[in-house]
């Protein structure tokens, strides 16, 4: 039990003043602007938007600045902010097939229609620290393909669609239009949870937690034999059917990363074997997150495929109950708040137990009893 305490207002106020001072750091160093954070620490911004479950680059940058770069604290701030705004409604589902692609790779087919596009990636870099970035940098302008190559760009079907044509992969589940879509921000999560709710939970789940779980499936704790069918990054249009307007209003574009994981087979006496799938989708350029999400999504489908649920990544109650870093940090960090009343009762109890122990010992050994007194 946590009991509120009174007093300490002055100390708390001074602690916050000190925090603001520390946040600013050496005043002779120029202060960070939100634009600098959003432009130059863009992947941190993407992570805060994804796990804060709030697409707004400027707010995420503000949260990162306020949190002194502590991303979980920043995610907490983003979540708290979203609770202050009314919700106008839900968008039409974004169409990732119509994305303006900035990166698109497949580890399963080297010759895919539309080609493999590396885009802005850390892949194939040498992971050597670059001393030239220690000062100011003036990178070369990006290379541009001649305009014909760019405008003649072939359409880019999803790799899973290509496999789907031959029935080699299971189709995506399709519910009736208008069927209710689970929303864990409105209804508390119950188990078993359907895949829509699981994906919502994973989308806002902690990247490190999902990374570790995804990794555990690769190491044999709930193996799924995954291949990256496709990862794509780019901009998609968001549309919102506003009742008073009478049509789907284009709200603008957001950046998302999508991962299609292709996994080993299912089949039955009545159905031929086919590949199965795991799906990941995240705001911004969040490749590790969307890959981990896709691995865990597939692992959590164990029940659906009649696999034994033996590994942590397959246990939906375990995964979904512990994926949220705001909840997790809240419960872990509340331990440092005053628990004086709790602890007083624990102290009382342990003194009583020790007294009883000493008494029991004394009955066996009167000398010890004397020593105890």
């Amino acid at each position: 039990m946590y009991v509120a305490v009174k007093g300490g207002e002055r100390a708390i106020e001074n602690a916050h003043r000190l925090l603001a001072h520390e946040r600013r750091g050496d005043a002779s160093v120029p202060e960070l602007s939100l634009k600098q954070i959003s432009e130059q620490l863009s992947l941190a911004v993407d992570r805060v938007m994804t796990e804060g479950s709030l697409y707004d680059r400027e707010l995420a940058a503000l949260a990162i600045k306020q949190a002194r770069g502590d991303l979980i604290e920043a995610i907490f701030l983003a979540r708290a902010f979203r609770a202050t705004l009314p919700r106008f409604g839900t968008s039409e589902p974004v169409e990732t097939g119509a994305m303006q692609v900035r990166r698109r790779i497949s580890a399963t087919f080297k010759d895919i229609p539309g080609g493999q596009i590396l885009g802005p990636t850390f892949d194939y870099t040498h992971r050597l620290l670059d001393p030239s970035l220690a000062g100011t940098s003036a990178p070369e302008a990006p290379a541009a393909a001649d305009s014909d190559a760019a405008t003649d760009a072939a359409p880019m079907p999803r790799v899973t669609d290509i496999l789907g044509h031959d029935g080699l992969i299971e189709p995506s589940p399709v519910a009736d239009e208008g069927a209710p879509v689970g929303d864990l921000t409105r209804e508390p999560l119950n188990f078993p949870a359907d895949r829509d709710l699981r994906l919502q939970n994973l989308a806002r789940g902690d990247e490190g937690f999902l990374l570790a779980l995804g990794y555990s499936t690769q190491r044999g704790y709930g193996r799924t034999h995954p291949f990256v069918g496709e990862i794509r990054l780019g901009e998609v249009e968001v549309e919102f059917l506003a009742e008073e307007v009478g049509f789907a209003v284009p709200l603008g574009r957001i950046t998302v990363t999508e991962c299609q994981m292709v996994n080993q087979f299912k089949g039955s006496a009545s159905e031929p074997p086919c590949f199965t799938r795991g799906y990941g989708l995240a705001f911004g350029q969040s490749e590790r997150k969307s890959m981990s999400m896709a691995l865990v999504d597939r692992a959590l489908r164990a029940r659906e495929f009649g696999d034994d649920v033996k590994a942590p990544a397959q246990d939906e109650e375990f995964v979904l109950s512990h994926s949220d870093n705001v909840q997790a940090t809240g419960f872990v960090e509340h331990l440092k708040l005053p628990h004086y009343v709790d602890f007083q009762s624990e102290l009382g109890l342990i003194r009583k137990l020790r007294r009883e122990f000493a008494e029991a010992q004394g009955e066996r050994d009167p000398q010890l009893q004397e020593a105890a007194e």
């Binding site: 707004d56 106008f88 990732t96 493999q116 596009i117 001649d146 049509f247 603008g252």
Partner: protein, 154 residues
């Protein structure tokens, strides 16, 4: 072109096109292009208001919908003297941008339609297309061909 001769579907198509272009443009560019228009008097039906829209994805990219996460959205509505009601719903929290979009949307439904298209929508649309083309060109320069190397003696 004026709104008078257009069918409802044509007007809806125009309004959606304008909204997509304006949403993709920054406030300063919209304001600059609108500065050549004579904006008629209008009544503010809904002052710009910040809120959220839950963004949905589809399972597997093409399956049933699921809730991905929310995005900030600003909405506004204005009414012209002629009765045309213009709306804005746009990503972000910029009240001025939402207001200008609502005004453009109302004017597109009025006799000023051609002016808005000429002075605002089309130039911004060209700028948007140029930005996207530049991005596509930079993206295309990173297109790669992977070769499979056969090991051992063929």
């Amino acid at each position: 072109m004026t709104a008078a001769g257009a069918t409802n579907d044509e007007i809806t198509t125009l309004r959606r096109r304008a909204m997509a272009v304006l949403a993709d443009s920054c406030l300063d560019d919209i304001a600059e292009h609108m500065s050549v228009l004579t904006v008629p008097p209008y009544q503010e039906l809904r002052a710009p208001e910040n809120g959220l829209v839950m963004v949905r994805g589809r399972i597997g990219g093409d399956g049933s919908p699921f809730n991905l996460g929310e995005a900030t959205v600003t909405r506004a509505a204005v009414k012209l003297a002629g009765g045309e009601v213009g709306f804005a719903y746009v990503l972000g929290r910029d009240p001025h941008k939402a207001k200008l979009i609502a005004v453009c949307d109302a004017m597109i439904q009025s006799a000023d339609c051609a002016h808005v298209l000429d002075a605002v929508v089309q130039p911004l649309e060209r700028a948007m297309a140029a930005r996207r083309q530049q991005q596509d060109a930079e993206t295309a320069a990173t297109r790669v061909n992977f070769f499979t190397l056969v090991r051992g003696e063929g």
